[in-house]
Symmetry: C3
Subunit: 215 residues, 3 copies
């Protein structure tokens, strides 16, 4: 089973995933998680095991191995066709992994490039991945703008709130195209400032239900 | 021919359809309609005959026959995969009916479930149904919220206006994915408080035009 | 290569395309352009050649040749199925041309018809055209409303700002369905009053990058 979790930079999708998986492990729900294929180990839990995979990380690993880039941020500056080629290879890798274990795919609905909003999951990829559920992690534009400006851990473009709102609108729109093509539902989880626990709990409950095959 | 009419609970899609078909019968346009396959009878009218089918009713009939549920509201509480299975069977039944007569399919763009917005007409269904036209029945969020709270005839979740607005946004987005996949246009008809007659007339005129093959 | 540029009537997509191509020719970038297949001639430029094709013009040429219409505005008053048939033929013609040269396809995301928003590029067409990039030319609803009312060169329906905003929302939504199906990005270029040069420059730079295969 593969679950897509999508959020724009600053929405906090990775954080929500990590906290939810931690919560489930600690509450004895039997979940385990790992951020990279290498460190992942199968859980003996009763409910299920989800591996947390970041699409960008998988793309970066591939681009690094093939000597195309040296740092992660170089990827989105690559020619569109090269990005799409790496995206395709990463997709094949993830699709293969999802045949063997449950994957939470941490990614973007669209990536904002100099050439516009590039779909993170084009029809071709969706066909390979067959996601069971799309989860959109959202926050208010002003929250995202502030989180980005105080985030010093990686290079980011400064975008004002208006462009963040536009991006979020386009992400919602494309998520419904994803839903239409796959038949999978789209769940919006709001991750507002000071309410990470609420978002975390909401996502953890979703994982529990899905794992119990009750989704 | 199959026409999709979609509205969220409280938008009044069923009412608009019923009133428009009544209007056409009374104005001697030769239309006839029926809410269930059993009571439907062919019209001798010159312009055309449309059978009013509610997707949820067809799903409920199937789920009831198969002993999966006892009441209609249980359907949306079923596991996602079960809902999708019933949806598929209902789709096959409706597609088969539309080969023999004109269908107005009364349904939802998306159904709000605990797992998010579940597409009412995924790509697989659209391929079978080949709709000629999508009609979205809309109202202001505050109107829908109020209509829902005063509607005591069936169990409904209380949603505030903000979530209704979000739902409507997602419905519009997915309707354009439906349009893209099928090539069929999307017509928005507003069904505001006190203006049911306007919505009814607008939809009746649309049916007349389509029936005259002038669409 | 085929690039789609879409804008609703009054957004100024044709103007932006014409000015950008002129800018590139004058700046010695080696671009050339032509508004009709007949007057187009291959450019000897180093960077590339783009032919400016208007989808509506190609449709009109076909409808005229087949004796279906006499003036351009009659097309959108034709039965939906006839419009779709002409659309298909125009699509085949454009797809054939794009095999031989670079095309900028000047079109609409959706066309507003009495039957609602008719998709300009349904899935079937996208498959044939394989666009590399979608560019949306946008302006504020009040700017578009005013531009339309002062445009006396062709017949247009009067739409108020609210309906323009709705149309723009639906266009954005369907553009993301187009992106999802093709994998191509969607770039929004704002063409505000008094800022045609900014829009022109932005589009010209996009063409230069694409032509340099760096997209």
């Amino acid at each position: 089973m593969l679950i897509v979790v999508a959020g724009m930079p600053g929405a906090g999708s990775s954080t929500v995933i990590q906290h939810a998986l931690k919560l489930l492990r600690e509450s004895g729900e039997g979940f385990a998680s790992a951020s990279s294929p290498a460190s992942a180990s199968a859980s003996a839990g009763a409910v299920g095991f989800f591996k947390h995979l970041n699409y960008g990380d998988v793309m970066f690993e591939i681009a690094l191995q093939e000597g195309i880039v040296k740092s992660r941020d170089e990827i989105r500056k690559l020619p569109q066709t090269t990005q799409q080629e790496i995206q395709r290879k990463a997709c094949d890798k993830i699709a293969a992994l999802s045949k063997k274990e449950n994957i939470i795919l941490d990614t973007h609905c669209t990536v904002k490039t100099p050439f516009g909003y590039l779909p993170g999951l084009p029809a071709e990829s969706l066909k390979k991945l067959s996601p069971r559920l799309f989860v959109l992690i959202e926050a208010f534009p002003h929250e995202i703008a502030r989180r980005r400006s105080s985030d010093r851990t990686r290079e980011r473009d400064v975008e004002d709130e208006k462009s963040i709102e536009e991006h979020q609108t386009m992400n919602r729109a494309i998520s419904m195209a994803y839903a239409c093509l796959t038949g999978a539902p789209v769940k919006i989880i709001e991750n507002h400032d000071g309410a990470l626990e609420k978002a975390t709990t909401e996502f953890a409950e979703l994982l529990t239900r899905i794992s119990q095959n009750s989704v």
